[in-house]
Each structure stands twice: as C-alpha cells, then as structure tokens.
C-alpha cells in the first residue's frame, strides 16, 4: 500500500462528500415538485410527456397502485427489449450484421438490464447491434435506474408523511428521475468522457496498423454516452466485454476516478435526499457514515490483500513487493483496482476495471461480501436506499426495545406487519444466492462451466448468483455463464432480487405511510447518533455474515488458507 494509492482513494471519497449535499438537496426539490434552476427549461418537456401519456401529475397513488404501475412498466420494458434482441438481425443500425440473440441469452440480458443488474453473458461489441445497444440496453440503463429512484422516493415519502394513503405518482417520479437527474448528469458526464478520449461514434470499427505491421480491427461505437449512464445509473453493463478495463471505456487514471465518482454520486446523494425529505438531515448523514465506514473498510481490505500478494507466486521467484497484479490494468494498479472493485460492489454497479476472480482470495471475497451485505453501501440508485432503510428498521427493531419502548423509526412505530414485510424482503437474498449456488454446485451441467478447480470454482458459482440476486452484474470471471442453465437461473435470481424484494418493501412503505408520525423525545431511540451508526453497521455485518459465512468459508476463505499453505488445486 502506498501513500499515492491512499491519496487516490481519499480524493474520491472527498469528491463524493463534497457533492452529496448540493446533489441531495437538488433531488429533494425535484421529487417534492419544487422549482430548481433547470425547471424553466425542462418543465415544458415534462408537461409534454404527461399530456402525451394522459397522466394527471397531481394525482397520487397508494402503494399498490404505485407498485402495479412499476410492474406494468417493467413488463413492457422487458417485452420490448427482448423483442429488439430477437429481431436485431432484421432491424436497422446493425452495421456488423450480428444475428438475432438466442432466446436464453436474450431472456437473461433483458432481465439483466430491466433489473438494473447488467450481468452480461455476452461480449457487447461482438453480439449486440448498435440499435440494441442504444434503443435497447441504454434506454434501460436510464429507466431501470429511474425506476429505482422512483421507488426510493415513494419509500422516503412514507417516512416523511403522517397518516396518508398515497406515496406519490410512479409515472411522475419516473419522468422526473430521468429528466431532471439522470439525463442532465449523463450529458455532462458523457462530454467529460469524450474530452478524456472515449469514442463517441456510430462507426462500427476502425482498422489500425500495429507496430509489427499487422492489421488490427478496433471496435468502436457510442461508448462515451453509454459509459456515462452505465455509471450514473449504477448499471455497470459495459460497451465492451472487459468493461472499464478497456482503454476505450476507461483510458486513464483520471477517467477511472471520474467513472467511480459518477457511479457513487447519485446513490450517496440519495441518502441525503432521504434525510432532507423526512425532515431530519442528520438521518441522511448517519446513513452516509454507515456507508462510508463499510466501504472504506472494504476498499482497505481489498487493497491490503492485493498488495500483500500471493506467497505461492513469491516462491516461484516473483518480487513480493509487486503484490498481486494478475487481472489488473497497469495504468490503475492495486489501489485504483481495489477502489473500483469495492465501490462497484458496494453499489450495485457491477462495472469492473479489473477481474475480481484474479484477485487474491481475500481480495475477491471483499466484492462478493459487499454484494451479499445487501447492496446498500450505498447500493443501486434508489434500490440501495430502500435496502438500507430495511436494515435500519431491523436494527431499530432488534435494539430499539433496549431503550424500553416499542421500536420506532423516524416517529413511525415498527410493528408486526412491518416486520413481516421486512423479513420477506431479507429472505430473498439468501434464498436466491445460496439456493441456486447449492444446486449449481451439485449439478454436473453447472459445474462444467467452472473455469478453475478447487474452492475458487465454488467462488465463481457463488459470485455469479450473488451478483445476479444482488442486481450487481459484475462477474468474477472464469465461469462460462452463457449456457441455458446459467442464463435461466441467473435471470430468475435477478428477477427475485429486484421484484420479490421491492414488492414487500413497497407494502411496508404503504403501511408506514398510514401511521401517525410521532414527535421525538428524550425517550425516543436516537437513530442519527454514532451509536446508531455502529449498531446499523453491526446488524448489516452480522446479518450478512451469518447468512453467508459458511458458504464463504468453503470458497474464498478456504482458498485463502490453502494459498498460505502453498496448496494448489
């Protein structure tokens, strides 16, 4: 570990910290329907959308109507994306003449982009036409992120309001998330990326003559624009197969920092938005502190593991001072790779600038465990916030009784009904991850996809379902996922991770909204203090750890001790 390495890490967190408040306040105004500096320009467009779609923007929906609208929108999105992929061979904007995407892969990919996962069982530059990339995948990069933000705002309103039946209007929140948040931010970021050298063209490729005189075809496309929304919307689906390790997606250390910054910015700011909208900014800061502590710990552990290197390689004559550079880009090194890995998994981004499967065992455990903690650090745009709220409710419930009152969060009593929905939600992750992973570990057709024998192979399977169920989308590498088994099961895991999670959360929000918001007193469980932050961290770690520790012991932890013992498989 070096000072420069830590300086890069510190610079990133500082940058995020600086924009949390302005961005958070801006979003709070947008979703409260208040004027912002950009309203004069965008309001007519917004109104145009409503008139076109016949939406009464003043009419709010209850939790069920809101959720049904979200589901209907998702079904429509799935069908259209699936159709575009299945018919891309006959549709325009296919300069490379790619064939139609096979059904299982199309299912997997459509679910993947619909759920903001962006797991890619294909190489984008060699499978998807420009139309699929732009009208299909990129559109979902916007809408899936906007859906997440909309849901988070609905849940936020449940805590902000007292004794109401409505949580907002899904269509209005969706349009505003796109129009006021994602789109302007994406335009600015895409221009910055172009300035940093990312290609932005409709040309398919350029042919270059290498130093040896050979001809090389370099794939091109509208990379900068897709890269921008890929990160802002915590999508993570790269234009190129190797994602942000590719020099056209992420050419320099500076573009690397910008990549990480834009993926963190909105999700982190949403925590502040929450605090602002519920009328207690300290709550937002408490959430941010929780996120920061766990994320920095994750970055630190991965960075340390990668610089510590691999004793087996040292014994083969490699300089231990180099640490582990396998699977990393030299222009990023261990610090920026560890930083990217932790942030992309603490968020549900899933883009990568290094191959997580090539990390040391513990270095690879960090991104996997960060996803297993529930994608709340700070998680996907929106989805992270409502995930964190569920954890906060659980913390308040377990420990809140210790102050001698029945549990409450932000003045809302947490009772049997809320617990039921919260428990339903947190059940999804272990069922989807451990269930599918255990079946796959025993199923020959699934085991055949593994790239590495020994405990690392189990890690590959575990990581794939972790990434899918957590709607992360990053790949460990090594596992050949483009098989009917994985395309189907990973697709189901993604659907469970998104919809089976959010429906109970929305029911929870509906129940919370209907409750009276009690004022705080000296006897109220304080949820904005360092003590609560510590408690929330403890609950997230213990719940995540207890569920996944046995599985992790068989994967990365076994691999780590085997590595120390010099054992290979």
């Amino acid at each position: 570990m070096t000072l420069v390495g830590w300086a890069q890490i510190a610079a990133l967190f500082l940058a995020v910290l600086l924009t949390v408040k302005p961005l958070g306040l801006y979003m709070a105004r947008v979703f409260s329907g208040e004027r912002t500096f950009i309203t004069p320009v965008l309001a007519p467009v917004e109104k145009g959308f409503y008139r076109l779609a016949g939406i009464d923007e003043t009419r709010e929906q209850g939790w069920l109507a809101y959720t049904l609208a979200m589901l209907a929108f998702s079904v429509a999105g799935f069908v259209s994306l699936y159709a575009i992929m299945r018919f891309q061979d006959v549709l325009p904007l296919n300069p490379q003449g790619f064939p139609a995407v096979p059904p299982d892969l199309a299912f997997n990919t459509a679910v993947s982009f619909l759920t903001n996962t962006n797991w890619q069982n294909y190489a984008g530059e060699a499978t998807m036409s420009h139309l699929t990339q732009m009208a299909g995948l990129t559109v979902h990069n916007f809408t899936s992120a906007a859906t997440g933000i909309a849901l988070a705002m609905a849940v936020t309103r449940a805590f902000a309001r007292s004794k109401v039946a409505t949580l907002g209007n899904f269509w209005v929140d969706l349009v505003r998330a796109n129009l006021y948040v994602l789109l302007p931010f994406a335009v600015v970021t895409a221009l910055a990326f172009v300035a940093m050298g990312l290609p932005q063209t409709l040309d398919a490729s350029v042919t270059a003559t290498t130093l040896e005189g050979a001809q090389q075809t370099l794939a091109l496309g509208p990379v900068a624009s897709q890269e921008a929304i890929k990160q802002i919307g915590t999508n993570g689906g790269g234009f190129f197969n190797v994602n942000a390790a590719h020099p056209f997606e992420n050419p320099t250390a500076l573009s690397n920092l910008l990549n990480i910054y834009v993926m963190l910015a909105v999700s982190a700011a949403l925590a502040y938005t929450f605090g602002q909208m519920v009328g207690d900014r300290r709550q937002g800061w408490a959430f941010l502190a929780t996120i920061a502590v766990l994320l920095v710990a994750g970055v630190g552990l991965a960075y340390w593991a990668e610089t510590s290197g691999n004793p087996i390689l040292t014994s083969l004559g490699l300089d231990p001072a180099m640490g582990n550079m396998e699977g990393k880009e030299v222009r990023f090194g261990q610090s920026a790779s560890a930083l990217y890995a932790a942030v992309t998994t603490g968020l549900s981004d899933g883009g990568v600038n290094a191959m997580h499967g090539s990390f040391t065992a513990l270095g690879g455990l960090v991104p996997m465990f960060l996803i297993q903690l529930g994608e709340v650090l700070p998680g996907g745009t929106g989805s992270g916030l409502y995930g964190l709220i569920v954890f906060a409710l659980l913390s308040v419930f377990v420990a809140g009784l210790m102050v001698g009152r029945t549990p409450e969060f932000l003045g809302k009593k947490i009772e049997g009904r809320e617990m039921k929905y919260a428990v339903l939600a947190i059940l999804i992750l272990p069922v989807a991850i451990l269930g599918f992973a255990a079946v796959s570990a025993m199923l020959p057709v699934a085991v055949a996809s593994i790239g590495t024998p020994g405990p690392h192979g189990l890690s590959e399977i575990l990581y794939a379902f972790t990434s899918a169920a957590g709607n992360n989308g990053s790949a460990f590498g090594g596992l050949s996922g483009n098989t009917p088994w994985y395309n189907t099961t990973l697709g189901i895991a993604m659907l469970l991770g998104r919809f089976a999670y959010v429906v109970p959360v929305m029911a929870l929000a509906g129940s919370i909204a209907a409750k009276v918001k009690a004022p705080a007193s000296a006897g109220t469980f304080p949820t904005h203090t360092p003590l609560f932050v510590g408690l929330l961290i403890g609950i997230i770690l213990i719940l995540g750890g207890l569920q996944f520790f046995p599985a992790l012991a068989l994967g990365p932890i076994a691999e780590h001790f085997a590595m120390l013992a010099g054992q290979t498989f």
Partner: protein, 683 residues
Amino acid sequence: MSSQKTSPHAPAAPGLFAPAILGPAVVAAFRKLDPRQLMRNPVIFVTEAVAALVTLLFVRDLATSGDAGFSGQIAAWLWFTVLFATFAESVAEGRGKAQADSLKRARSELTARLKHEGSRIEKVPATTLKIGDVVIVEAGELIPADGEVIEGVASVNESAITGESAPVIREAGGDRSAVTGGTQLLSDRLVIRVAVAPGGGFVDRMIALIEGAKRQKTPNEIALSILLSGLTLIFLVAVVTLWGLAGYSGTVLSVTVLAALLVTLIPTTIGGLLSAIGIAGMDRLVRFNVIATSGRAVEAAGDVDTLLLDKTGTITFGNRMATDFLPVPGITEKALAEAALLASLADETPEGRSIVALATGEYQVPAPAAQPDAVIPFAAETRLSGVDLGTRRLRKGAVDAVLRFAGVEPARAPEAFRAAVDRIARSGGTPLAVAEGDRLLGVVHLKDVVKPGIKERFAQMRAMGIRTVMVTGDNPVTAAAIASEAGVDDFLAQATPEDKLAYIRKEQEGGRLIAMCGDGTNDAPALAQADVGVAMQTGTQAAREAANMVDLDSSPTKLIEIVEIGKQLLMTRGSLTTFSIANDVAKYFAIIPALFVATYPGLGALNIMALASPQSAILSAVIFNALIIIALIPLALRGITYRPSGAAALLRRNLLVYGVGGLVLPFVGIKAVDLVVAALHLV
C-alpha cells in the same frame, strides 16, 4: 429491577426457584412438549422437530453401529434445549399459580340470591347469573358477581383481591358503587345489579392473567416472533444449502451436524425465553397490585409519552391546609380567625377542618359557646359555608362567592384584600374570603403541599422523555404555581372530564401515547380513550370497565411505576434478543472449522477457541446453547436492571452489556464446556 419495590399489601413473592414452583414446573415443562402447543413458538418448534430427527438418526446409528455416542448426545442436548425453553415458561407461570388457586377456591362455591320481578327470591349458583340480574347480599355473605350497588350502604372486605384487610364502604350511587365478586360483605345489606357475564368478572380476568393460560401474544411479541421466525428460515436456508455447497468439494456433511448447526444458529435463547419474559412482566404488575386486562396495555405503558396526573393525591397531599389569616386593615388577625372559625364550624371538608385547627391552635381562638341560629354547610354550588349568629351573618368560601354574598364588586374590594388574594393565588395557594354581612374581613390562605421527592421523580420522567401533565380543578394561576413547584411540564387547569378527553385526543392526534388514572364515572371516557388507563379499585364500575388496568391499592402515584414496569419488560425482551443474535458469531467459529477441517485443513485456523476436536466443538456449541437458556431464566423473570434515564444512555449501556457481552461470552462459555467435554471424554 433495582430494588424489590413491591406494594405493601402485595403477596410475598415466592423465590425464583422455590421448590413449590420447581416441582410442578418440571412436570409442566414436559407437558408443553406437545407439538400442537409448541407451534405457538416457531423457533422452539423447529428445535423440537430437529431434535426428533436427530433422535431417529441416533436410533439408526444404534442399529447400524454408526457413531451413536455422538448423535445420542446431540439428540439429548437438543431435547434439553426444548425442555429448558418450556421449563422457563412453566416457572414464569408457576409464580402466579398459587395466587390464582386461592382466588379460584374463593370463587368456586359462590351462590347468589337472585331477585326476580315481584320480589320473589331464589337461590342460584353464581355461575348462572346474567348481566342485569339483581341479587341481594346480606352481612357475612360473599358477593356473587361484579356489579353495581343499587340499594344500601355496607362495609366490604376486599382483601381477597387487594390484600388490604381494612374494610371499604360501598354504597348506591356515586363513586363507590362498584363491588367485586368474591369479596365479603361485613355489615348491612346490599342490592346489586350484576354487571358482567359469568366468567368475565374481575376475579376471572385476574385468574386468567396470573395463570398465563389464556395469554394472548402482545403486538410487539408478535412482531418479534415474526422476526425470529424469519431468522429461523434464513438459517434453515443457510444450513440446508451448505449440504450442497460442501458437496462440491466432496465433503459429505451428516444430518446430525447440520441439525446441530441449525439449532445453535436459530435464536433459541430469546425464542425460549420470550413468553417467560412476557408472563414475568405481568406477574411483576400483579406484585405491584395492578391488574392489567391485556398485555398490550403493559407494552403501551413502556411507550407512554405523556402522563396525565391528578394533582390531588399524586402531586400534592390530598388536602389543602389553612396556613395564614390575612385581615384587611382595621381587622385584627384574631378577629379574622374567630370569624373564619365560626364560619367553618359547619364545614366538614378537610379545608374547613384545617381552618378550625389553625384558629384554635396557632391563633388560640376559644371554641364558640353560643349556638348558631342557622348553619349554612359548604356546598359545591354555593362554594361557601357559614353561620348566622343573631345579627352576625358570617360567611367563608371562594372569593367570588363571598364577594357576591357581600355584594361587593371585585374591583371595589379593599386594596389589601385584593393584594392578598392575588399573592396567595400566585404562590399556588387558594385564597378563601371571609365576610361578615357586607363587610370583607380578610383572606384565609389555603396551601397545597407538594409531596416531597415528587419533583425529582418528574425530572427522571423528563430524562426518560416522558412529559408530565398535572390535571387540576384549580384556576390557571394557582395551577401554574403548583405546576412550577412540582416541576411538571404542563398543566390542565379548571379541568372538566371533557377537557381531559379533549387533551388526550389532541395529544394522540400528534402521535403521542397517553397514560392517565381516574376513579369516577365521569373519568370513564378519558380512561377508555387513553392508551393506558388506570382505574382505582375504589372507583366506579364504569371507570374499572373503561380502564385497561386496575390499581388495587388505589394509589394515583402507581402510574409512574406502571410505566417503569412496561419499559423494563420491553428492555428485557430487546436485550435478550440482541444477546441471542450476537451469540451466533462464536458458534460459527466453533462449528464451521469443525465441519470442514477434514476437507480444507487450513480452515483449522478459524478454530480460534482451540476446541479439542471437531466433534467436541459441535457438542460444546450445542450444550452451551442449551445451558444459556437455563442460565438466563432468572434474568428473564426478574427483568434487566432498570435505571430511569434517557434513551441514548440506556442504549449505550444495554448495547455494551448485552450486545458486546453477547459477542464475547459464548467464546468463553463454549471453550469452558469443551474443556469439560474433553476431560470427560464424552466424544
């Protein structure tokens, strides 16, 4: 609990593990193994299912000469885990049983003399009485059912339910008309209209409550059960899938060890103690001579934000006392004292008597010799009393009433008179005016004496986040003075029952939970509206019906203790939940290396407790998991230590003790058990 703060009349608490309780509790613990009963408790039900499964495996191991010694011991300890949980509940129930039994005996052979229309009287068993029946009770008989006195006055011995042997007066009409079934009439004769259906009476409710038999889970208990069931499901998933994940590396895990892992991970500690904690909380209330009609009310007591406290009897001693005579210029103190004394002779209120005492005592006014011509007794309507002695028409009473009597405009009253009235009112006292005919003589200073220590009590309440509101019939100025002297947060002056109700509604509208106590029929609506309504045992039937708690000691200060008991109950539940979940970390470090060390020897590094062998590690974790339930029964029954303080301080302390303690203790405990297991060569 910080001290045994039991009520003076409370039945003596049996020791936690008195033989009289232990014996039956052991029997009951076995009876509760019935799966149909255990279904109510999902965590322990799962444990029982797993224990049964491992028992089958043990039998199979015996038949196939497998490792029956190991699976047998695991099975035995799993059964112990279940038994310890049912035992905890039995002990908690057992503590109330003795009291319930004596109540039952008193009730069982009751007969009633039922009065039919046309005054025909028939002897019937008390259990056949219906609401609205009219019964007659003579001296020496037991009252057959809860009801309202419609005719007669009598003294009643209520010691069967209150423990208080001094008889109380019950009479038709007014606030002392309610009688309780099972209590004994000592004198006279009462005609009573039955107010409750058989089995629904006060004593029946009390029995059901103490026995815990028909105990309903409280809302928070239900919510906690849901969370515990969810955790159980999650660990079921984690353990079952482990079989497949381990199979990948060729490790075949036996069902016995997976069962052991499951039971140590699911929250058996809190699952086993949860209902015992709830029963013990109710039991603690009973010991304070408070009967709650539902567990819900006890929980609500912990949540209370605002206490509505009657000034009289709670904040101040019941009676205002005369402390000074303040004459107008031209009248001596002695003359004023004499006039006040004469005017108070017919005033039997405590205030009136205190004037007599002050005048004859400190001011040495001789008792009057002349017989008055006319006596005007104190009445609530006139608010004055007095005498007519020849031409002297002496009156004493509320200032405005006396002014009216004297025909003096308030503004035209002597300067000194008005100043005295003002000063007294501002200081929280009550001024009484004394007049002779149309002449004002002066003012008597009546003082409300605030109970010592009450201010500190309210400061504690404030630290706990509870607002105290004083309810009084006094005028706002007087009320404000007493309020500031007693240190309450707010007051409700000149309060009518409607004002109380409106205040409660307003507070509830803002999301606050309110507790209040009352005894009169006109308190009933407010008692019903309040989240915690405590009726006095001496109160009317209507008040007792509307309230969700009845205080057998009829002490208005009880409200504060009730809140503390509610809080302690919730804190005990939360602390043991946190403890239970924190325990799991250590169990992983015991069991996971034991499961996989054969496949991946490196995982032996996780055996940080250096447990003797994989088998002893698993057995030790299971044994510890069972023993911790027994070890925590006293804590569950007694409740955790409670000191009134703010939420932040409570959380810090309890998180340290039960959270961090829960993390650390099992490492020590499992290691200790392992040492014993290894020394005895149990595996």
